[in-house]
Protein backbone atom coordinates (compact mmCIF):
# COMPACT_ATOMS: atom_id res chain seq x y z
CA UNK A 1 0.00 0.00 0.00
CA UNK A 2 1.23 3.46 -0.84
CA UNK A 3 2.35 5.73 1.97
CA UNK A 4 1.45 9.40 1.71
CA UNK A 5 4.58 11.31 2.67
CA UNK A 6 6.36 14.57 1.89
CA UNK A 7 8.20 14.81 -1.42
CA UNK A 8 11.54 15.05 0.42
CA UNK A 9 10.78 11.87 2.37
CA UNK A 10 9.58 10.01 -0.74
CA UNK A 11 12.79 10.78 -2.62
CA UNK A 12 15.00 10.06 0.40
CA UNK A 13 13.43 6.64 0.83
CA UNK A 14 13.00 5.61 -2.80
CA UNK A 15 15.96 7.02 -4.74
CA UNK A 16 19.49 6.00 -3.81
CA UNK A 17 22.93 6.71 -5.25
CA UNK A 18 23.68 4.39 -8.16
CA UNK A 19 20.03 3.55 -8.83
CA UNK A 20 18.46 3.17 -12.22
CA UNK A 21 15.71 5.79 -12.16
CA UNK A 22 12.90 6.28 -14.68
CA UNK A 23 11.12 9.63 -14.34
CA UNK A 24 8.46 9.40 -17.02
CA UNK A 25 5.77 11.65 -18.47
CA UNK A 26 5.60 12.08 -22.26
CA UNK A 27 5.77 15.90 -22.56
CA UNK A 28 2.71 15.98 -20.27
CA UNK A 29 2.93 15.30 -16.49
CA UNK A 30 6.73 15.41 -16.26
CA UNK A 31 7.72 15.13 -12.56
CA UNK A 32 9.91 18.25 -12.33
CA UNK A 33 9.40 18.87 -8.60
CA UNK A 34 10.59 15.34 -7.87
CA UNK A 35 13.58 15.83 -10.18
CA UNK A 36 14.53 19.00 -8.33
CA UNK A 37 14.28 17.14 -5.02
CA UNK A 38 16.69 14.49 -6.37
CA UNK A 39 19.10 17.32 -7.21
CA UNK A 40 18.69 18.89 -3.75
CA UNK A 41 19.39 15.55 -2.09
CA UNK A 42 22.53 15.35 -4.22
CA UNK A 43 22.02 11.86 -5.58
CA UNK A 44 24.97 10.66 -7.63
CA UNK A 45 25.89 8.02 -10.21
CA UNK A 46 22.29 7.54 -11.32
CA UNK A 47 21.37 5.67 -14.48
CA UNK A 48 18.58 7.87 -15.82
CA UNK A 49 15.95 6.25 -18.02
CA UNK A 50 13.44 8.30 -19.98
CA UNK A 51 12.08 8.32 -23.53
CA UNK A 52 12.48 12.10 -23.87
CA UNK A 53 15.10 13.42 -21.41
CA UNK A 54 13.49 16.87 -21.78
CA UNK A 55 14.46 19.72 -19.47
CA UNK A 56 14.13 17.52 -16.39
CA UNK A 57 17.12 15.33 -17.31
CA UNK A 58 19.01 18.28 -18.78
CA UNK A 59 18.81 19.69 -15.25
CA UNK A 60 19.78 16.43 -13.50
CA UNK A 61 22.67 15.86 -15.94
CA UNK A 62 23.93 19.44 -15.52
CA UNK A 63 23.67 19.09 -11.75
CA UNK A 64 25.98 16.07 -11.85
CA UNK A 65 23.45 13.45 -10.70
CA UNK A 66 23.82 11.08 -13.66
CA UNK A 67 26.54 8.82 -15.02
CA UNK A 68 24.44 6.97 -17.59
CA UNK A 69 21.40 7.74 -19.72
CA UNK A 70 19.00 5.38 -21.51
CA UNK A 71 16.75 7.37 -23.86
CA UNK A 72 15.18 7.76 -27.28
CA UNK A 73 14.91 11.50 -28.04
CA UNK A 74 17.10 14.10 -26.30
CA UNK A 75 15.95 17.47 -27.57
CA UNK A 76 14.07 20.51 -26.28
CA UNK A 77 10.73 19.90 -28.05
CA UNK A 78 10.06 22.47 -30.75
CA UNK A 79 13.02 24.58 -29.55
CA UNK A 80 16.28 22.74 -30.28
CA UNK A 81 19.07 21.18 -28.28
CA UNK A 82 19.30 20.13 -24.66
CA UNK A 83 22.53 21.99 -23.99
CA UNK A 84 23.46 20.33 -20.69
CA UNK A 85 22.96 16.90 -22.28
CA UNK A 86 25.09 17.95 -25.25
CA UNK A 87 27.80 19.42 -23.04
CA UNK A 88 27.97 16.14 -21.11
CA UNK A 89 28.18 14.02 -24.28
CA UNK A 90 30.47 16.31 -26.28
CA UNK A 91 32.69 17.66 -23.47
CA UNK A 92 32.09 15.41 -20.42
CA UNK A 93 30.82 18.35 -18.34
CA UNK A 94 30.22 18.10 -15.42
CA UNK A 95 31.27 14.48 -15.96
CA UNK A 96 31.13 11.79 -18.61
CA UNK A 97 27.70 10.48 -19.55
CA UNK A 98 27.45 6.99 -21.01
CA UNK A 99 24.56 6.60 -23.44
CA UNK A 100 22.28 3.80 -24.47
CA UNK A 101 19.88 4.95 -27.13
CA UNK A 102 16.78 3.56 -28.71
CA UNK A 103 13.78 4.60 -30.75
CA UNK A 104 10.53 5.57 -29.03
CA UNK A 105 8.91 2.32 -30.19
CA UNK A 106 11.81 0.36 -28.74
CA UNK A 107 11.72 2.16 -25.38
CA UNK A 108 7.95 1.84 -25.11
CA UNK A 109 8.18 -1.87 -25.76
CA UNK A 110 11.02 -2.28 -23.26
CA UNK A 111 8.74 -0.83 -20.56
CA UNK A 112 5.89 -3.07 -21.71
CA UNK A 113 8.16 -6.11 -21.34
CA UNK A 114 9.25 -4.95 -17.89
CA UNK A 115 5.66 -4.37 -16.78
CA UNK A 116 4.63 -7.76 -18.20
CA UNK A 117 7.31 -9.75 -16.41
CA UNK A 118 8.89 -10.71 -19.72
CA UNK A 119 12.66 -10.60 -20.41
CA UNK A 120 12.27 -8.92 -23.78
CA UNK A 121 9.79 -7.45 -26.24
CA UNK A 122 9.41 -7.93 -29.99
CA UNK A 123 8.71 -5.27 -32.56
CA UNK A 124 9.14 -4.38 -36.20
CA UNK A 125 11.74 -1.75 -35.69
CA UNK A 126 15.34 -0.57 -35.98
CA UNK A 127 15.88 -2.68 -39.09
CA UNK A 128 18.52 -1.12 -41.33
CA UNK A 129 19.26 1.75 -38.95
CA UNK A 130 22.57 2.58 -37.27
CA UNK A 131 20.88 2.03 -33.92
CA UNK A 132 21.01 -1.74 -34.47
CA UNK A 133 24.78 -1.75 -34.05
CA UNK A 134 25.04 0.39 -30.91
CA UNK A 135 26.02 -1.35 -27.67
CA UNK A 136 24.00 -1.19 -24.49
CA UNK A 137 25.43 0.12 -21.22
CA UNK A 138 26.92 -3.33 -20.54
CA UNK A 139 28.77 -3.27 -23.85
CA UNK A 140 26.58 -6.03 -25.29
CA UNK A 141 24.17 -5.50 -28.20
CA UNK A 142 21.01 -3.85 -26.87
CA UNK A 143 18.98 -4.56 -30.01
CA UNK A 144 18.98 -8.09 -31.39
CA UNK A 145 17.33 -9.88 -34.30
CA UNK A 146 14.85 -12.65 -33.56
CA UNK A 147 13.08 -15.08 -35.86
CA UNK A 148 9.35 -15.63 -35.48
CA UNK A 149 8.83 -19.32 -34.54
CA UNK A 150 5.55 -19.38 -36.50
CA UNK A 151 6.32 -17.54 -39.72
CA UNK A 152 10.11 -17.41 -39.87
CA UNK A 153 9.92 -13.64 -40.18
CA UNK A 154 12.92 -11.63 -38.97
CA UNK A 155 11.92 -9.22 -36.19
CA UNK A 156 13.68 -7.18 -33.52
CA UNK A 157 14.02 -7.95 -29.82
CA UNK A 158 14.74 -5.38 -27.13
CA UNK A 159 15.46 -6.18 -23.48
CA UNK A 160 12.95 -5.43 -20.71
CA UNK A 161 13.44 -2.33 -18.61
CA UNK A 162 13.09 -2.91 -14.88
CA UNK A 163 14.26 0.29 -13.18
CA UNK A 164 15.03 0.39 -9.46
CA UNK A 165 12.54 3.21 -9.14
CA UNK A 166 9.94 4.94 -11.30
CA UNK A 167 8.86 8.51 -10.57
CA UNK A 168 5.76 10.04 -12.18
CA UNK A 169 3.43 13.01 -11.68
CA UNK A 170 -0.36 12.53 -11.72
CA UNK A 171 -3.38 14.75 -11.38
CA UNK A 172 -4.84 13.08 -8.30
CA UNK A 173 -4.54 10.50 -5.57
CA UNK A 174 -6.98 9.60 -2.84
CA UNK A 175 -6.04 9.26 0.82
CA UNK A 176 -5.54 5.52 0.40
CA UNK A 177 -2.90 6.22 -2.27
CA UNK A 178 -4.83 5.20 -5.38
CA UNK A 179 -3.52 7.30 -8.27
CA UNK A 180 -5.44 8.76 -11.24
CA UNK A 181 -4.08 10.52 -14.32
CA UNK A 182 -5.45 11.36 -17.76
CA UNK A 183 -4.76 13.28 -20.96
CA UNK A 184 -1.55 12.16 -22.64
CA UNK A 185 -0.68 9.17 -20.45
CA UNK A 186 2.59 8.20 -22.16
CA UNK A 187 4.36 5.20 -20.63
CA UNK A 188 3.82 6.06 -16.97
CA UNK A 189 1.66 3.02 -16.23
CA UNK A 190 4.27 0.73 -17.76
CA UNK A 191 7.12 2.56 -16.00
CA UNK A 192 5.52 2.13 -12.56
CA UNK A 193 4.60 -1.51 -13.16
CA UNK A 194 8.10 -2.32 -14.47
CA UNK A 195 9.96 -0.76 -11.52
CA UNK A 196 10.95 -2.19 -8.15
CA UNK A 197 9.76 0.96 -6.34
CA UNK A 198 7.64 3.94 -7.31
CA UNK A 199 7.03 7.54 -6.31
CA UNK A 200 3.99 9.47 -7.53
CA UNK A 201 3.65 13.22 -7.03
CA UNK A 202 0.16 14.63 -7.47
CA UNK A 203 -1.63 17.92 -8.00
CA UNK A 204 -4.08 17.11 -5.22
CA UNK A 205 -5.00 14.46 -2.69
CA UNK A 206 -8.77 14.00 -2.43
CA UNK A 207 -11.16 11.97 -0.28
CA UNK A 208 -12.52 10.10 -3.27
CA UNK A 209 -11.33 9.91 -6.89
CA UNK A 210 -14.07 11.31 -9.12
CA UNK A 211 -15.06 9.41 -12.27
CA UNK A 212 -12.77 10.59 -15.06
CA UNK A 213 -13.25 9.17 -18.57
CA UNK A 214 -10.08 7.84 -20.13
CA UNK A 215 -8.11 7.99 -16.91
CA UNK A 216 -5.42 5.52 -15.93
CA UNK A 217 -5.81 4.33 -12.34
CA UNK A 218 -2.91 2.78 -10.47
CA UNK A 219 -4.22 0.99 -7.39
CA UNK A 220 -2.48 1.87 -4.15
CA UNK A 221 -0.95 -1.58 -3.86
CA UNK A 222 1.33 -1.03 -6.89
CA UNK A 223 2.56 2.36 -5.63
CA UNK A 224 5.06 2.91 -2.80
CA UNK A 225 5.00 6.65 -2.09
CA UNK A 226 2.54 9.41 -2.93
CA UNK A 227 3.48 13.04 -2.29
CA UNK A 228 1.47 16.19 -2.93
CA UNK A 229 3.32 18.55 -5.30
CA UNK A 230 0.85 21.04 -6.76
CA UNK A 231 2.31 22.60 -9.89
CA UNK A 232 5.00 19.94 -9.67
CA UNK A 233 5.12 19.27 -13.40
CA UNK A 234 6.02 22.86 -14.36
CA UNK A 235 7.13 23.80 -17.07
CA UNK A 236 5.39 20.66 -18.34
CA UNK A 237 1.73 20.55 -17.37
CA UNK A 238 -1.07 18.61 -15.75
CA UNK A 239 -4.14 18.64 -18.00
CA UNK A 240 -7.08 20.18 -16.16
CA UNK A 241 -4.79 21.88 -13.61
CA UNK A 242 -1.98 23.72 -15.39
CA UNK A 243 -0.91 24.56 -18.96
CA UNK A 244 2.42 23.84 -20.63
CA UNK A 245 4.72 26.83 -20.14
CA UNK A 246 6.04 27.01 -23.71
CA UNK A 247 7.78 30.31 -22.90
CA UNK A 248 9.82 28.54 -20.25
CA UNK A 249 10.88 25.82 -22.70
CA UNK A 250 12.06 28.60 -25.02
CA UNK A 251 13.78 30.50 -22.18
CA UNK A 252 15.58 27.28 -21.16
CA UNK A 253 17.55 27.41 -24.40
CA UNK A 254 19.32 30.54 -23.10
CA UNK A 255 19.51 29.48 -19.45
CA UNK A 256 21.10 26.14 -20.27
CA UNK A 257 23.43 27.21 -23.07
CA UNK A 258 26.07 28.58 -20.72
CA UNK A 259 27.57 26.63 -17.80
CA UNK A 260 27.71 29.65 -15.48
CA UNK A 261 24.19 30.78 -16.24
CA UNK A 262 22.95 27.24 -15.69
CA UNK A 263 24.85 27.01 -12.40
CA UNK A 264 23.26 30.27 -11.22
CA UNK A 265 19.83 28.95 -12.22
CA UNK A 266 20.51 25.74 -10.31
CA UNK A 267 21.62 27.60 -7.18
CA UNK A 268 18.75 30.05 -7.27
CA UNK A 269 15.82 27.96 -8.46
CA UNK A 270 16.56 24.47 -7.18
CA UNK A 271 19.19 24.29 -4.45
CA UNK A 272 17.76 27.32 -2.63
CA UNK A 273 14.23 25.95 -2.84
CA UNK A 274 12.72 23.27 -0.69
CA UNK A 275 9.65 21.14 -0.59
CA UNK A 276 6.93 20.32 -3.02
CA UNK A 277 6.15 23.86 -4.17
CA UNK A 278 9.64 24.54 -5.51
CA UNK A 279 8.49 23.68 -9.02
CA UNK A 280 5.65 26.16 -8.84
CA UNK A 281 8.01 28.81 -7.45
CA UNK A 282 10.24 28.44 -10.47
CA UNK A 283 7.21 29.11 -12.62
CA UNK A 284 6.88 32.70 -11.58
CA UNK A 285 10.52 33.62 -12.05
CA UNK A 286 11.02 31.59 -15.19
CA UNK A 287 8.04 32.85 -17.13
CA UNK A 288 9.10 35.08 -19.98
CA UNK A 289 12.70 35.14 -18.72
Amino acid sequence: MAEIVSLAEAIARAVHDGDQVAMEGFTHLIPFAAGHEVIRQRRRDLTLVRMTPDLIYDQLIGAGCASRLIFSWGGNPGVGSLHRFRDAVENSWPGPLQLEEHSHAGMANRYVAGASGMPFAILRGYSGTGLEALPGLDGQPAIRPITCPFTGERLTAVAALNPDVAVIHAQRADRAGNVQFWGITGVQKEAVLSAQRSVVTVEEIVDQLPAQPGAVVLPTWVVDYVAAAPGGSHPSYALGFTVRDNDYYQAWDEISRDRDRFSRWLAGEVLAGAGPTAGAGAAATGRGA
Partner: protein, 266 residues
Protein backbone atom coordinates in the same frame (compact mmCIF):
# COMPACT_ATOMS: atom_id res chain seq x y z
CA UNK B 1 -2.38 29.78 -22.38
CA UNK B 2 -5.32 30.14 -24.70
CA UNK B 3 -5.13 31.32 -28.28
CA UNK B 4 -6.69 34.75 -28.48
CA UNK B 5 -4.78 36.43 -31.32
CA UNK B 6 -6.90 37.05 -34.40
CA UNK B 7 -4.79 39.44 -36.37
CA UNK B 8 -6.07 40.13 -39.85
CA UNK B 9 -3.56 39.45 -42.57
CA UNK B 10 -3.83 42.14 -45.25
CA UNK B 11 -4.33 40.80 -48.77
CA UNK B 12 -1.24 42.64 -49.98
CA UNK B 13 0.90 40.41 -47.76
CA UNK B 14 0.23 37.58 -50.24
CA UNK B 15 2.31 39.36 -52.85
CA UNK B 16 5.52 38.35 -51.11
CA UNK B 17 6.34 35.19 -49.26
CA UNK B 18 9.33 33.55 -47.62
CA UNK B 19 11.11 30.37 -48.69
CA UNK B 20 9.72 28.66 -45.59
CA UNK B 21 6.20 29.69 -46.58
CA UNK B 22 6.34 28.25 -50.08
CA UNK B 23 7.96 25.10 -48.67
CA UNK B 24 5.20 24.73 -46.10
CA UNK B 25 2.48 25.37 -48.71
CA UNK B 26 3.97 22.76 -51.08
CA UNK B 27 4.26 20.25 -48.25
CA UNK B 28 0.63 20.91 -47.28
CA UNK B 29 -0.50 20.28 -50.87
CA UNK B 30 1.11 16.83 -50.74
CA UNK B 31 -1.53 15.80 -48.17
CA UNK B 32 -4.92 14.88 -49.62
CA UNK B 33 -8.15 15.29 -47.69
CA UNK B 34 -9.09 12.25 -45.61
CA UNK B 35 -5.54 10.88 -45.34
CA UNK B 36 -4.06 9.71 -42.08
CA UNK B 37 -0.79 11.42 -41.26
CA UNK B 38 1.78 10.72 -38.52
CA UNK B 39 3.18 14.18 -37.86
CA UNK B 40 6.64 15.19 -36.66
CA UNK B 41 7.03 18.50 -34.84
CA UNK B 42 8.33 21.67 -36.52
CA UNK B 43 8.05 22.14 -40.28
CA UNK B 44 5.98 18.97 -40.85
CA UNK B 45 3.49 19.98 -38.16
CA UNK B 46 3.09 23.45 -39.66
CA UNK B 47 2.42 21.98 -43.11
CA UNK B 48 -0.02 19.34 -41.86
CA UNK B 49 -1.99 21.94 -39.94
CA UNK B 50 -2.00 24.24 -42.97
CA UNK B 51 -3.41 21.41 -45.08
CA UNK B 52 -6.17 20.85 -42.51
CA UNK B 53 -6.93 24.58 -42.45
CA UNK B 54 -7.21 24.79 -46.26
CA UNK B 55 -7.90 21.96 -48.72
CA UNK B 56 -7.89 18.96 -46.34
CA UNK B 57 -10.31 19.59 -43.45
CA UNK B 58 -10.68 15.84 -42.87
CA UNK B 59 -6.95 15.13 -42.66
CA UNK B 60 -6.36 12.92 -39.61
CA UNK B 61 -3.35 14.22 -37.66
CA UNK B 62 -1.64 11.67 -35.43
CA UNK B 63 1.16 12.68 -33.04
CA UNK B 64 3.50 10.26 -31.26
CA UNK B 65 2.18 11.45 -27.90
CA UNK B 66 -0.83 9.21 -28.66
CA UNK B 67 -3.16 11.94 -29.88
CA UNK B 68 -5.19 10.63 -32.83
CA UNK B 69 -7.23 13.08 -34.91
CA UNK B 70 -5.87 16.22 -33.21
CA UNK B 71 -7.40 19.49 -34.45
CA UNK B 72 -5.29 22.32 -33.02
CA UNK B 73 -6.27 25.85 -34.02
CA UNK B 74 -2.68 26.96 -33.60
CA UNK B 75 0.71 25.36 -34.13
CA UNK B 76 1.73 23.28 -31.11
CA UNK B 77 5.30 23.82 -29.86
CA UNK B 78 5.67 20.17 -28.83
CA UNK B 79 4.07 16.87 -29.81
CA UNK B 80 2.45 16.83 -26.38
CA UNK B 81 0.85 20.27 -26.07
CA UNK B 82 -2.46 20.19 -24.23
CA UNK B 83 -4.38 21.42 -27.27
CA UNK B 84 -3.55 18.17 -29.09
CA UNK B 85 -5.08 16.02 -26.35
CA UNK B 86 -8.06 18.36 -25.89
CA UNK B 87 -8.99 18.31 -29.60
CA UNK B 88 -8.17 14.66 -30.42
CA UNK B 89 -10.68 11.98 -31.41
CA UNK B 90 -8.79 9.56 -29.17
CA UNK B 91 -5.81 9.73 -26.84
CA UNK B 92 -3.92 6.47 -26.41
CA UNK B 93 -0.77 5.46 -24.55
CA UNK B 94 2.65 5.63 -26.18
CA UNK B 95 3.06 1.83 -26.45
CA UNK B 96 -0.37 1.71 -28.09
CA UNK B 97 0.31 4.44 -30.66
CA UNK B 98 3.42 2.63 -31.86
CA UNK B 99 2.22 -0.98 -31.56
CA UNK B 100 -1.45 -0.85 -32.54
CA UNK B 101 -1.57 2.15 -34.84
CA UNK B 102 1.82 2.66 -36.52
CA UNK B 103 3.34 -0.83 -36.67
CA UNK B 104 0.58 -2.63 -38.66
CA UNK B 105 0.70 -0.06 -41.49
CA UNK B 106 -2.56 1.62 -40.51
CA UNK B 107 -1.20 5.14 -41.14
CA UNK B 108 -0.91 6.52 -44.67
CA UNK B 109 1.74 9.21 -44.51
CA UNK B 110 4.71 9.70 -42.21
CA UNK B 111 5.59 13.38 -42.22
CA UNK B 112 9.15 13.86 -40.99
CA UNK B 113 11.88 16.46 -40.62
CA UNK B 114 15.61 15.78 -40.80
CA UNK B 115 18.95 17.22 -39.71
CA UNK B 116 20.77 15.39 -42.50
CA UNK B 117 19.40 13.50 -45.49
CA UNK B 118 21.28 11.64 -48.21
CA UNK B 119 20.83 10.77 -51.89
CA UNK B 120 18.83 7.66 -50.95
CA UNK B 121 16.57 9.54 -48.56
CA UNK B 122 18.12 8.12 -45.40
CA UNK B 123 17.71 10.46 -42.43
CA UNK B 124 20.18 11.31 -39.66
CA UNK B 125 19.01 12.94 -36.44
CA UNK B 126 21.57 11.25 -34.15
CA UNK B 127 25.15 12.57 -34.52
CA UNK B 128 27.19 14.72 -36.90
CA UNK B 129 30.75 13.48 -37.41
CA UNK B 130 32.45 10.24 -38.34
CA UNK B 131 32.47 8.83 -34.79
CA UNK B 132 29.32 7.99 -32.86
CA UNK B 133 31.33 7.76 -29.64
CA UNK B 134 33.01 11.14 -30.14
CA UNK B 135 30.56 13.20 -32.20
CA UNK B 136 31.15 16.69 -33.55
CA UNK B 137 27.53 17.50 -32.78
CA UNK B 138 25.19 15.45 -30.66
CA UNK B 139 21.68 15.68 -32.15
CA UNK B 140 18.50 14.70 -30.27
CA UNK B 141 18.31 11.16 -31.61
CA UNK B 142 15.65 8.90 -33.06
CA UNK B 143 12.36 9.55 -31.30
CA UNK B 144 9.54 7.99 -33.26
CA UNK B 145 11.16 8.50 -36.67
CA UNK B 146 12.75 5.08 -37.40
CA UNK B 147 9.45 3.24 -37.11
CA UNK B 148 7.47 6.05 -38.78
CA UNK B 149 9.88 5.81 -41.72
CA UNK B 150 9.60 2.02 -41.72
CA UNK B 151 5.89 1.44 -41.22
CA UNK B 152 3.85 4.34 -42.62
CA UNK B 153 2.64 3.44 -46.08
CA UNK B 154 4.59 6.43 -47.50
CA UNK B 155 6.93 9.10 -46.12
CA UNK B 156 7.22 12.79 -46.91
CA UNK B 157 10.23 14.71 -45.59
CA UNK B 158 10.22 18.47 -45.06
CA UNK B 159 13.68 19.97 -44.60
CA UNK B 160 15.60 23.15 -45.44
CA UNK B 161 18.20 22.42 -48.09
CA UNK B 162 21.87 23.20 -47.48
CA UNK B 163 25.11 21.53 -48.46
CA UNK B 164 25.50 20.45 -44.83
CA UNK B 165 22.04 18.89 -44.62
CA UNK B 166 21.97 17.30 -48.09
CA UNK B 167 24.88 14.88 -48.10
CA UNK B 168 26.01 11.96 -50.21
CA UNK B 169 25.85 9.61 -47.22
CA UNK B 170 24.46 10.45 -43.80
CA UNK B 171 26.92 10.19 -40.90
CA UNK B 172 24.45 7.93 -39.09
CA UNK B 173 21.31 6.22 -40.38
CA UNK B 174 18.64 7.05 -37.82
CA UNK B 175 15.71 6.36 -40.14
CA UNK B 176 15.91 4.37 -43.35
CA UNK B 177 14.90 5.82 -46.70
CA UNK B 178 16.11 3.48 -49.42
CA UNK B 179 19.29 2.34 -47.64
CA UNK B 180 21.94 1.76 -50.29
CA UNK B 181 19.48 1.62 -53.17
CA UNK B 182 16.89 -0.62 -54.85
CA UNK B 183 15.72 -3.65 -52.88
CA UNK B 184 17.10 -2.50 -49.53
CA UNK B 185 13.75 -1.88 -47.86
CA UNK B 186 12.43 -5.26 -48.94
CA UNK B 187 15.57 -7.05 -47.73
CA UNK B 188 15.29 -5.38 -44.33
CA UNK B 189 11.59 -6.15 -43.95
CA UNK B 190 10.42 -2.53 -43.97
CA UNK B 191 6.72 -2.67 -44.77
CA UNK B 192 6.11 0.89 -45.99
CA UNK B 193 7.12 2.21 -49.41
CA UNK B 194 9.57 4.80 -48.05
CA UNK B 195 10.06 8.44 -49.03
CA UNK B 196 7.75 9.68 -51.78
CA UNK B 197 8.76 13.33 -51.71
CA UNK B 198 11.42 15.47 -50.05
CA UNK B 199 10.14 19.03 -49.90
CA UNK B 200 12.71 21.76 -49.31
CA UNK B 201 12.96 25.54 -49.41
CA UNK B 202 14.16 25.27 -53.04
CA UNK B 203 11.81 22.70 -54.53
CA UNK B 204 10.82 19.04 -54.46
CA UNK B 205 12.93 15.92 -54.84
CA UNK B 206 11.46 12.49 -55.54
CA UNK B 207 13.11 9.08 -55.68
CA UNK B 208 13.92 7.83 -59.16
CA UNK B 209 11.73 4.74 -59.70
CA UNK B 210 14.69 2.67 -60.91
CA UNK B 211 17.66 3.89 -58.85
CA UNK B 212 15.80 5.17 -55.75
CA UNK B 213 18.11 8.22 -55.89
CA UNK B 214 16.53 11.56 -54.94
CA UNK B 215 15.97 13.54 -58.12
CA UNK B 216 14.89 17.14 -58.53
CA UNK B 217 11.35 17.16 -59.94
CA UNK B 218 10.02 20.56 -58.94
CA UNK B 219 11.47 23.99 -58.39
CA UNK B 220 10.07 27.23 -56.97
CA UNK B 221 9.67 30.38 -59.05
CA UNK B 222 12.96 32.28 -59.12
CA UNK B 223 15.08 29.27 -58.12
CA UNK B 224 17.46 27.77 -60.72
CA UNK B 225 18.87 24.27 -61.08
CA UNK B 226 22.41 25.57 -60.35
CA UNK B 227 21.00 27.12 -57.14
CA UNK B 228 19.75 23.70 -56.05
CA UNK B 229 22.95 21.92 -57.11
CA UNK B 230 24.97 24.43 -55.08
CA UNK B 231 23.07 23.34 -52.01
CA UNK B 232 23.27 19.59 -52.64
CA UNK B 233 26.21 17.50 -51.44
CA UNK B 234 26.07 15.00 -54.29
CA UNK B 235 25.77 15.18 -58.08
CA UNK B 236 22.08 15.90 -58.22
CA UNK B 237 20.01 14.33 -60.98
CA UNK B 238 17.29 16.51 -62.49
CA UNK B 239 14.06 15.09 -63.89
CA UNK B 240 13.31 15.54 -67.59
CA UNK B 241 9.86 16.63 -66.45
CA UNK B 242 11.10 19.29 -64.03
CA UNK B 243 8.19 21.59 -63.25
CA UNK B 244 7.94 25.04 -61.77
CA UNK B 245 5.85 24.83 -58.62
CA UNK B 246 3.03 27.28 -57.99
CA UNK B 247 3.63 29.94 -55.35
CA UNK B 248 1.42 29.92 -52.27
CA UNK B 249 -2.04 31.32 -52.85
CA UNK B 250 -3.38 34.24 -50.86
CA UNK B 251 -5.63 31.79 -49.00
CA UNK B 252 -2.73 29.50 -48.12
CA UNK B 253 -0.59 32.41 -46.88
CA UNK B 254 -3.44 33.86 -44.85
CA UNK B 255 -4.18 30.48 -43.23
CA UNK B 256 -0.52 29.80 -42.45
CA UNK B 257 0.04 33.27 -40.99
CA UNK B 258 -3.12 32.94 -38.93
CA UNK B 259 -1.92 29.61 -37.47
CA UNK B 260 1.41 31.20 -36.63
CA UNK B 261 -0.19 34.34 -35.18
CA UNK B 262 -2.41 32.17 -32.98
CA UNK B 263 0.69 30.33 -31.77
CA UNK B 264 2.79 33.33 -30.86
CA UNK B 265 0.18 35.65 -29.34
CA UNK B 266 -0.49 33.54 -26.26
Amino acid sequence: MTATGREEVPASAADTFTADEIMTACAARALADGMTCFVGIGLPSAAANLARATHAPNLVLIYESGTIGAKPGRLPLSIGDGILAETADAVVSVPEIFNYWLQPGRIGIGFLGAAQIDRFGNINTTVIGASYADPKVRLPGAGGAPEIAASCREVIVVVRQTRRSFVDRVDFVTSVGFGDGPGYRERRGLTGAGPRKVITDLGILEPDPASCELTLTGIYPGVTVPDVRARTGWELAVSDALEELAPPTAAELAALRQLQANSTSL
